[in-house]
Amino acid sequence: MNIVVCVKQVPDTATERKLRSDDKTLDRDAADGVINELDEYAVEEALKLKEAHGGEAAVTVLTMGPAKATETIRKALAMGADKAVHLTDDALHGSDALSTSYAMAQALGRIGFDLVVLGSESTDARTGVLAAMLAERLGVAQLTQAKKVEVSGTSIAVERVTEYGYDKVEATLPAVVSVVEKINEPRYPSFKGIMAAKKKPVETLSVADAGIAADQVGLAGAWSEVAEFAAAPPRGAGTIVKGDGDGGTKTADFLVTKKFI
């Protein structure tokens, strides 16, 4: 079984994140890049599926991003993935969700897959649409928002988290899966894993290598654009009171001034 896990490098949520004033894209140099948290769960699930297959599977990491995203690729390899493909090209800078899904679908076509595993959302773009878009572009089953995944032969079943509980969903491979955080507990890379990761193959793909039409990606190719942006006005320092026996009463007073009661 060929499993490809899509891993994104995102700015650390603990640092201040910014947009660039020149082209209104994410300022990736302003903050440290880390692996998108949910993608660790995606890697873990891919590794678990491989283990459940008696190791008869290859786990390939796919990352689209600038050169420094290799750090994130190494992290996924250190967790236990076998190899990686790094889709990287200046032409990709500024791609929106449609462009990203197009570029990644092209790369997936080159790599070949039975199963693609993603996180359900990234902490920077937070669109949560990529998995659905890949399923649409690749014409394969969409098994997203999964809290449980089971593969047996060419059948796949997931529990998909819904507004009201969950759905049991079934399909035949190939498929695209996205995972939510309660699906598993991601492993920490071991020292051995970290050392081994340094020797694992990372193939670099350019836009041309992947057969991506350059005018469909990047800032110019994007289907949507940021018109303007501004730092949010500070929330206005709130009133903080000490509990001292009347915290509930003071809160009720506040609710009255705001007309909630």
Binding site: T13, R126, T127, V129, E136, E225, G236, G238
Partner: protein, 317 residues
């Protein structure tokens, strides 16, 4: 005026409030056409949609549409975008709503904007990003604008529309039938307003201490007619069901009032609630990051503050 398609969110045959909000927003962009997908359509539904401005109500109520994951609704909308030459499409920014929007965008070769909290002239959408630190206005550069709007972004206002019913039949492609829903598991919901839609949300975290003590959070919620939410720490510990988790990997809420009780305010929690209009925090640790967001905060023991608050609310109502 061009038609603006609004995908109707419904549960147990009832139209959800977010749909009335979307119809209100759609009126600023063109002539709203509601799109009903799935079984359960009734004359009451049509009347309700018309009351909030739907000029047309497209009805595709075959079972098939809900038997497969997401793709059938995207196919239905794509068909209507073409036949109605729609000027834009609005869906609710739920996890599924965004996925429908994403697939529709590809089918119609159009741009998509997710998690809008406001919509201006020409489909320019307001978004709040990076944990609320930056406000953005975005627009679609190609195709038919598709926007996923967060619940509670606008107050729904009635405005009579013609509500002309039009039946639609969709022929699903094989690709749309790739992921089959074998079973639907509903976790009990109770009488409280729905979390994503509620005007007031009261959430409890690890500070609440036990499943039993979540009753206190529920009592506070009920005194305000609010929905109950929980932090991931509380849902992971099994104190409250997972479907009530607020945050990056739970529900995103944008209520008029959010009350965080015994919640520290981790970035992943904030990601799901920071667009609330007013935020109140109760926490015994004055350094808890939730206080950075709070319009009103009480540093104190929740077991002292909350019972008193409930009593005061009952008194003043």
């Amino acid at each position: 005026m061009s038609e603006i398609l609004v995908l109707v969110e419904h549960v147990d045959g009832e139209v959800k409030k977010v749909t009335l909000e979307l119809l209100t927003l759609a009126r600023g962009q063109g002539a709203p056409s509601a799109v009903w997908a799935g079984p359960g359509y009734t004359e009451e539904v049509r009347a309700r949609l018309a009351e909030y401005g739907a000029e047309k109500v497209y009805v595709a109520d075959s079972q098939e549409i809900v038997d497969y994951v997401v793709a059938p609704k995207a196919e239905l909308l794509a068909q209507l975008v073409a036949s109605a030459s729609a000027g834009g499409v609005l869906v609710a920014a739920t996890a599924e709503g965004k996925e429908i929007a994403g697939r529709l965008a590809i089918k119609t070769d159009s741009g998509v904007i997710t998690d809008a909290v406001g919509l201006g002239e020409g489909f320019v959408a307001d978004q709040s990003i990076f944990g609320g630190g930056v406000n953005v206005r975005s627009r679609v550069a190609k195709g038919t604008p598709i926007v996923a709007v967060r619940p509670n972004s606008v107050t729904p206002e009635p405005a009579a529309g013609a509500g002309a019913e039009e039946r639609v039949s969709v022929t699903l492609s094989d690709a749309a039938r790739a992921a089959r829903v074998a079973e639907r598991v509903k976790e009990e919901k109770g009488a409280r307003p729905e979390l994503a839609e509620a005007a007031i949300v009261v959430s409890g975290g690890r500070g609440v201490g036990s499943a039993e003590d979540f009753a206190l959070i529920e009592r506070l919620a009920d005194s305000l007619g609010a929905a109950v939410g929980a932090s991931r720490a509380a849902t992971d510990l099994g104190w409250y069901p997972h479907q009530f988790q607020v945050g990056q990997t739970g529900k995103t809420v944008s209520p008029q009032l959010y009350i965080a009780v015994g919640i520290s305010g981790a970035i992943q929690h904030r990601a799901g609630m920071q667009t609330a209009k007013t935020i109140i925090a109760v926490n015994k640790d004055s350094e808890a990051p939730i206080f950075e967001l709070a319009d009103f905060g009480v540093v104190g023991d929740l077991f002292q503050v909350v019972p008193q608050l409930i009593e005061e609310i009952e008194k003043r109502k």
